[in-house]
Symmetry: C2
Subunit: 552 residues, 2 copies
Amino acid sequence: MLKNYRMKIALAQLNYIIGDFDYNTAKIIETIQSAKKQGADLVVFAELSVCGYSPRDFLEFSEFIDLCEVSAQKIAAACSGIACIIGLPTKNPKVKGKDLYNSAYFIEDTKVKAIVNKALLPNYDVFDEYRYFEPAVNFSCVEFMGHRIALTICEDMWNINDNPMYVISPMDELVIENPDLMINIAASPFSYNHDEERVQILGDNCRKYRLPLFYVNQVGAQTEIIFDGGSLVFDQDGSLLDELPYFSESLKIYSFEYGKIIGHKPIVHDTQNNIQQIHDALILGIKDYFAKSGFSKAILGLSGGIDSALVCALAAEALGPENVMAVLMPSEYSSDHSIQDALDLVNNLGCKHEIIPIKEAAAAFGNMMNPVFKDLPFNVAEENIQARSRAVILMAMSNKFGYILLNTSNKSECAVGYGTLYGDMAGAIAVLGDVYKTQVYKLSHYINREKEIIPENSIVKPPSAELRPGQKDSDSLPEYDILDGVLYEYIEHKKSSAELIAMGFDVALVKRILRMVNIAEFKRNQAPPILRVSPKAFGIGRRMPIVGKYLG
Amino acid sequence: MLKNYRMKIALAQLNYIIGDFDYNTAKIIETIQSAKKQGADLVVFAELSVCGYSPRDFLEFSEFIDLCEVSAQKIAAACSGIACIIGLPTKNPKVKGKDLYNSAYFIEDTKVKAIVNKALLPNYDVFDEYRYFEPAVNFSCVEFMGHRIALTICEDMWNINDNPMYVISPMDELVIENPDLMINIAASPFSYNHDEERVQILGDNCRKYRLPLFYVNQVGAQTEIIFDGGSLVFDQDGSLLDELPYFSESLKIYSFEYGKIIGHKPIVHDTQNNIQQIHDALILGIKDYFAKSGFSKAILGLSGGIDSALVCALAAEALGPENVMAVLMPSEYSSDHSIQDALDLVNNLGCKHEIIPIKEAAAAFGNMMNPVFKDLPFNVAEENIQARSRAVILMAMSNKFGYILLNTSNKSECAVGYGTLYGDMAGAIAVLGDVYKTQVYKLSHYINREKEIIPENSIVKPPSAELRPGQKDSDSLPEYDILDGVLYEYIEHKKSSAELIAMGFDVALVKRILRMVNIAEFKRNQAPPILRVSPKAFGIGRRMPIVGKYLG
């Protein structure tokens, strides 16, 4: 038995760019070289690290799969005297089944020594792995330096505690071969309660199989999906020994000998409050959207209200205030304090601003529509002309100067359709689209935790779209604490109207809210991608018929 | 043996509304009563007929599944002295596996006599069945009136000719029980080449298993997905005996005795030309979008160009010209002939129109932006102000009068991003978003097949957005016949740039087009739903990373 050979395992928690093979390959090779200098024997990268997660329908281009293999061979060539685990899609050599596997290569001393395929393919919420991959049905451990490694990919460790979704459990098969440790490579997206769940599920695996575990997650935002890192190390009792930082890249080396991880004592998972986590996730989401798109400068409309103030503060933190252009676009219905609140914010942040009143555009459209509208009363048509005129201004600035427009709609508004399509619903990325209004307040207080950045007045005044005299959100919507309560149960927990009413919510209120949510589906369908911070965000993780009659 | 009992089978090809249980249930029960009066013993409805296809994430609401069962029981209660087959999602009673099956109920004399579950779950293109359903693994035939029926659901007959995607073939299992006939209930969406494929694949099943087949498809549009009907009847040699109409509802009764379908001779599948099929599909797509959304009146911007002219003609045919409002919004760059061409079309169709010049709005925005734009040269910013001002006008009309905006962008433009987000890319439904520009010409000639409806001048003049003096599409884009050739191979056939170049396309041209397609992903992500008429439409069937670097 050679199990007393000391093995140094490096966990590489990196931020990849989907489909940028040059970038990802260079980053992986540099990390291998750095780990080698630090004495590592094995460097572990995340699921689909070669191409980024998720490549979606890029996977249907056979050249894309070929380029993954080319990258893997370059990485292998750089593994002289060291081993690594990388993730990539590979071709299914079988005659039957889907074209691809979601695979891990175990590379040792420039050679691909073992290929492990994923068996449990998530196909819920934002995941579409059955669209591309054939599930693995054969399992075997990898031998390395006298240790037997049970290597699995992400979801393959999630059929613990009799998760009813899956019929098999890969670790049940692998454990038959008496492995010495488990390694799991993952691409596990952030939501505000997912870190606790990961620590629990992965620790349960250790306790069930009596094995230590090294778990490597991706970090970084891929459009709407944010990977939070937080890679984990457990001993065979399921005690957490270490966790890599959240929301940043990291490389850390561990020693493994006599079936144990050396030099670490159990720690307690650093449970941060949800609001701080959401804050950090949104910052990374904004930062990566811009960096990976090749843009640096953001623009947004600043109304004096809390939503746009919060987005402005987040953008200034993510991109630097010098890269944020806030545009104040008052109308005849804007209150004086709104302009002052917006200016106070701009001053507090140090970002750029312009003031472009929309009166002239609103008047022009008024004149132009007059022969058609005649003396019909002012209604939502005129309200929306204002919101859309603002979008025209912001997009003109974007087109002229290369700014990218940030959308400032919150999840409560998105849910009930309280927003103007092609108006305030415009933008390249929706920063708060998965943040309920009640959470917007909490995030704003968090931004102000050390000093007042978002003017107190923006936080305390009654929310208003200011599209007609004296307008308040509460004219059209229930109070946000009540609204958000119903929305949370309906969207996150998929409660029907009958169940909501049984929970004590008012019958008429429930019917009204569910109806608003459902008739707004056509609007959400054209909304920008939304930075996902909850277990159920609008966008690719929630797929509803646009024309459909069921209200829940 | 009772096989000589004559059985009368009614095929019910109906148009359902997703989630409208009252509507669907009433329609199914009325059809059963009608078929019973005509002497039918068994009425066959389509896949998921109880709830419509596809209910998407409605399926994640447990109440939705309960309501499907309630509907099925109502339908069963109406089946006194008659049998029927309906499709619905059902709960998976197993401890393991996904929550639901995609099922068929065989109802006989008010009782559910057999439940058949679908085994092959499409999860490609627009399909997401693995998101919801557990695949069936057990198969058995249904006995009825002395006949043994191999009842399957849609895709379960598509693993013929060794389709590599699937590992099992349900008919291989069912044929062991020596059935007398096959019945397949389907929800098979239209694309312009799919009818031939269906006739081929289903006929191959008959030839392989030496059994006759009754095949019932849905008809009707569900937002972007259009079901074309065309239900089929085959004898045991795989000869086509009958086909129900395309793009309309139908109920037809067949007699089956001594293992044969009586009174029908082989026919040749009525292969219509693709352009006529696309035309019929778009008409149904428009009609059902409005009818199922509860709207009747459409609005669109009419430029004098061919795309908006074609959409106007299609809308007038689908909704009646009295329900179509065409808005002419000339700018200083509009040519005189454009206005005249648009007016000629309006006159030819008899639809309503307004003329609202955008000069005043463009001037207002010019003044408003002047302090910021200063003396920077006219560029895409000013071009887009015009396109977006038009969207403001159209949406104001929509908000004031209840019109629904039709988008007029074609597939070639969508592909390369030749359109203004929140401008001419606005609309509730994109009529031509899956129709290449070269097909737009063919469709326009088809519209004019009997007399000139679309003015010849709109067809023959060089395409132009008319957003700056003398602008032509060919200033920014390759000629459409070349562009469409590359796009077709790239989008429909997923060819990489290397493969396209190997096919003989110019290197620089290919790189340029693929780059345009990929950087437009963020625009398409916010485009309206697109009526799908090809095997690969933009929208839910083509899922690309927005921030991603692979160009193909």
